[in-house]
Symmetry: C2
Subunit: 143 residues, 2 copies
DNA sequence: AAAATAAAAGAGTTTTTTGTCTTTTATTGC
DNA sequence: GCAATAAAAGACAAAAAACTCTTTTATTTT
């Protein structure tokens, strides 16, 4: 569904949101540990998200990653788009070069419906909204 | 969503179903042309599906691929499972090693709902059911 | 200013996926 | 039996995705 990169990205950002809910920063090392991902790999990913302004970072001691007010309110869809592009939201389920109403593949209508529901779900969920569940250990970011 | 291999596979099998609706066989060359896929690649894929009994084939002149009564009734889900395994149907949306009700990722509930709808859709659609739309040029297997 | 810290950047490597080419095997029609 | 046809099989090759390692840059603390 999503690329591994994208899965790590979302887990990482949710983790950062939780860890920094009352200010502070969190280091790459801690993120990697917190979501059980390869450290250098998640570093690259966060670097990219940082360039795109979807996460904030600071160098040096006391540095690390955090989310500003705007980032906390970004939807999951924004992060998916930043990493995987919009093929998830608009790509053809059977791999036609382009999904089209007027030149549809055989499963277009059914597929589109599900794809849209996925999109609505991702658009309406903001990255900062999972803190409570994580605190209550009703949701997890690693095995 | 699906691997390229799986996308080609489904398009190929739908094509075979259509082309052989009144008996006959269809060659790899024709399949490749019909769905606009690399010829040798789709050959490999059909070989695999043939081994698993999801499509039928015959060598030699008058040979080619076709679908027996049972294969025509297989669901899209059966083909997806044969190629991509069941990660589509039961994998965690955020890449946790295993999707679990008791150790869920933050988007488990929402994701599961969509994943299930996808599954129901794929389970309830049989590969042989697209002939009419294709004939009427209301659906297409290539650009 | 120097040392320590932590992200940024860049240059790999490995693995998986996707795609190609060649040879072999089976079947048919003559 | 022989030539032609078409899939099966196997070995490669290219591209993309996933992952690693090393060096640089910015910041803070002492
Ligand atoms: S054309 Fe295939 S999903 Fe729209
Ligand atoms: S645990 Fe992530 S989808 Fe079920």
């Amino acid at each position: 569904m999503f690329s591994k990169t994208c899965e790590y990205a979302i887990r990482a950002v949710i983790f950062i949101a939780q860890q920094t809910r009352e200010g502070g920063r969190v280091s790459i090392k801690d993120v990697a540990r917190g979501i059980n991902s390869p450290e250098h790999f998640i570093a690259k990913i966060l670097q990219e998200l940082s360039r795109k302004g979807l996460v904030q970072s600071a160098k040096g001691p006391t540095g690390g990653f955090y989310l500003d007010h705007a980032s906390l309110q970004q939807s999951l869809a924004d992060f998916v788009r930043a990493i995987d592009g919009d093929r998830v939201f608009s790509g053809c389920g059977l791999g036609l070069k382009q999904c089209s109403e007027s030149h549809p593949c055989p499963i277009h209508h059914q597929f589109k419906s599900i794809r849209n529901q996925l999109m609505v779900m991702l658009e309406s969920t903001q990255i900062g909204g999972f803190t409570r569940e994580l605190e209550a250990k009703m949701a997890f970011l690693k095995q």
